[in-house]
């Protein structure tokens, strides 16, 4: 009797397990299918794209589409591929992420460890900044960039993204440093360390996990941004996302799907790389924090 109940229980457990895994696999395939199409298409010749099946493996494997996308595809009137725009995006995203993270950390440090009257208001306003929709600031931002003389330039884009990123990075660091023991700061004060030394020697070395979180978040947002790029940096200084759009939506000639797919993959690679590389450090940071320090 008892044995049969136990067998039944095992049977039900197995049934649910099979059901759960089947569902998960179905969803995984659903999400991975477009990526599969992109990858296989980018390695096909244009004829094969037109004649063959979408899911089929390339019959004549070729990297021509990739080199075309990188170096010779026509975007607008120039036919030099997306490489220039790729570097534009790097020149935009790397400084913007670095500056926004640095200042966010400083803001978080001041808002938690060097509180001043009205600190809650300042933080509240910065938080509010996170929730202002991009479209609202387009016109005023354009005016500001025009007056500063950095409209239509990568420097202008860096400024825009730093301003937008600061709200989020401040939020991240403030909440992280809120849990950082005040006694450590006080001990460092008695030991004779000043404002920046405490920040540099005591807080920053313990901020690995939150730095990684902020960098992943900001880099993904800034790299993938289209609206600011399209609005403030048209033409030669446009970022990757804008160039990709121009490449794909050009109305002349045959649609080179294989080139488009390759270009889209190139555009997605850096964020993927950041996740793969930094994600590991992120996990490592979490593990280090788990051992009570």
């Amino acid at each position: 009797m008892a044995a049969s109940v136990a067998t039944a229980a095992v049977g039900t457990a197995r049934f649910w397990r099979v059901l759960i895994y089947t569902t998960l696999i179905v969803f995984a395939v659903m999400y991975l299918l477009p990526l599969w199409v992109m990858v296989v298409t980018s390695f096909k010749t244009l004829d094969e794209v037109h004649d063959g099946h979408m899911l089929q493996l390339p019959q004549n494997f070729t990297t021509e589409a990739w080199s075309s996308a990188w170096g010779t595809a026509c975007i607008g009137l120039t036919c030099e591929g997306i490489s220039g725009y790729f570097w534009n995006s790097i020149k935009m995203a790397v400084p913007a992420v670095a500056i926004a993270t640095m200042f966010g950390a400083l803001n978080g440090y001041v808002l938690t460890k060097w509180r001043f009257p009205g600190h809650k208001w300042i933080f509240g306003l910065m938080l509010f900044g996170c929730f202002i929709p991009f479209q609202v600031v387009l016109v005023p931002m354009a005016q500001v960039l025009g007056r500063l003389g950095i409209a239509n330039s990568t420097a202008g884009l860096v400024l825009v993204h730093v301003v937008y990123g600061l709200g989020f990075s401040t939020l991240f660091f403030r909440n992280y440093y809120e849990a950082f023991p005040n006694e450590l700061v006080r001990a460092a004060m008695i030991d004779g360390a000043g404002f920046f030394r405490i920040f540099w020697r005591i807080l920053l070395p313990s901020s690995g996990p939150i730095i990684v979180v902020t960098v992943i978040f900001l880099f993904t947002n800034i790299w993938n941004d289209f609206l600011f790029g399209a609005s403030f940096a048209a033409g030669g200084s446009a970022p990757m996302t804008v160039a990709l759009n121009n490449l794909v939506s050009s109305s002349t000639g045959v649609k080179e799907y294989n080139v488009h797919m390759a270009a889209a993959m190139i555009a997605a690679l850096p964020t993927l790389l950041v996740y793969v590389v930094a994600g590991r450090y992120f996990l490592r940071g979490l593990m280090a924090g788990a051992v009570k320090g």
Binding site: P181, E183, L184, R186, A187, A188, M189, I190, D191, G192, A193, R197, R201, I202, P205, S206, V291, K292, G293
Partner: protein, 371 residues
């Protein structure tokens, strides 16, 4: 002039008075313990000495110099925090040397100082480890090492032992006392543990509700508490407090207590209480520490004012070294501390000896000590 002077120091947060005018002065080499229940302002006072909290009013002087306006690092103090506050990203050696490094001490000298402190505290084998790899007691030692290495004028301790388990706490207490005896540096120590206060201090300041209740040596605080609060806070188990009547008698002043059977228990205060003779008949609170109530054989025979009485035993609590016996006097539970082999059983009458020269009387209205 005293080495550490705290003159009429006040602390206000908005309209709340956290400290209401603190006056303390101790000589160089003193071990001052600030003790009191949580929220009494003792940690605030320590932080004000350290310079971590601003002083609203009054003055703190170290070695004659006013330090109110000095940055914590310029006051020549070192502090040990309750959480130890070890820098998690640095090794033990780096932690200890950090203060010296900030003061621009050359590397070779720093290393020598760290090695020396490591030797004193027996943490040489830990110097290369990170704080997260240390046990609580080891972290405590490192935190002390960080303070020691600077050789400051004043050491400040903020409940340094409260995160340790009971056994380790007693060990570290002895260690701190030994360090103080060896170094003879002035120390200020905050704790809520009255046993720590008694064992470590040369001077105790008992605080409550932002005020000093009494400042004195451990013996003064213990034997002649200023008021009922101090009497009740210091000592474990606490002092027995009983409503009684003070009256003059043939053999000098005496107190009488109501007992469970309705009879009054009359206890002569003895020759030591001559000062109380003039008071006439009045209501008082009689304070007697548990060790002043014993079995007759365990009583201090040299005591010249032992009063005896038979009382009903309610509870017997053997504690190994002593036996605590609970009886009832003046409708209050009274704890007596008897010898471990005292023959008492609950529910029976047993002879009790009261060492009345140890008795302290309080005014029931003001709570202050009489005489």
């Amino acid at each position: 002039m005293a080495f550490l002077e705290i003159k009429n120091v006040k602390k206000r947060y908005g309209t709340a008075d956290v400290l209401k005018g603190i006056d303390i002065a101790v000589e160089a080499g003193a071990f001052l313990v600030l003790v009191g229940p949580s929220g009494c302002g003792k940690s605030t006072l320590l932080n004000m000495i350290a310079g971590l909290d601003a002083i609203s009013e009054g003055e703190v002087r170290i070695n004659g110099a006013r330090v109110n306006e000095l940055h914590p690092s310029k006051r020549d103090i070192a502090m040990v925090f309750q959480s130890y506050a070890l820098y998690p990203n640095m090794t033990v050696a780096e932690n200890i040397a950090f203060g010296l490094e900030m003061r621009g001490v050359p590397k070779a000298e720093r290393e020598r100082a760290v090695a020396e402190v490591g030797k004193t505290l027996q943490i040489e084998h830990l110097l290369k480890r990170k704080p997260s790899q240390l046990s609580g007691g080891q972290r405590q030692r490192v935190a002390m090492g960080r303070a020691l290495v600077r050789q400051p004028q004043v050491f400040l301790f903020d409940e340094p032992l409260s995160n340790l388990d009971a056994k380790l706490r007693v060990e570290m207490r002895t260690e701190i006392k030994r360090l103080h005896q060896a170094m003879k540096t002035t120390m200020v120590y905050v704790t809520h543990d009255q046993i720590e206060a008694m064992t470590l201090a040369t001077e105790i300041a008992v605080m409550n509700a932002g005020e000093i209740q009494q400042l004195g040596t451990p013996q003064e605080i213990y034997n002649r508490p200023n008021n009922i609060f101090v009497a009740g806070f210091m000592g474990s188990p606490s002092m027995n407090m009983m409503a009684a009547t003070l009256e003059d008698g043939a053999g000098g002043p005496a107190v009488s207590l109501a007992t469970a059977n309705g009879h009054a228990l009359r206890l002569p205060l003895g020759p030591a209480a001559k000062a109380l003779a003039g008071y006439g008949k009045r209501q008082v609170i009689l304070g007697l520490r548990p060790e002043a109530i014993t079995d007759p054989n365990g009583a201090d025979r040299s005591g010249n004012s032992i009063a005896r009485a038979d009382c009903l035993v309610e509870v017997v609590e053997p504690a190994g070294s002593d036996t605590f016996v609970v009886t009832r006097l003046a409708d209050k539970e009274v704890i007596a501390r008897m010898r471990a082999d005292a023959d008492v059983r609950p529910g029976q009458l047993a002879p009790f000896a009261f060492a009345m020269d140890k008795a302290v009387l309080f005014d029931p209205e003001t709570g202050k000590r009489i005489g």
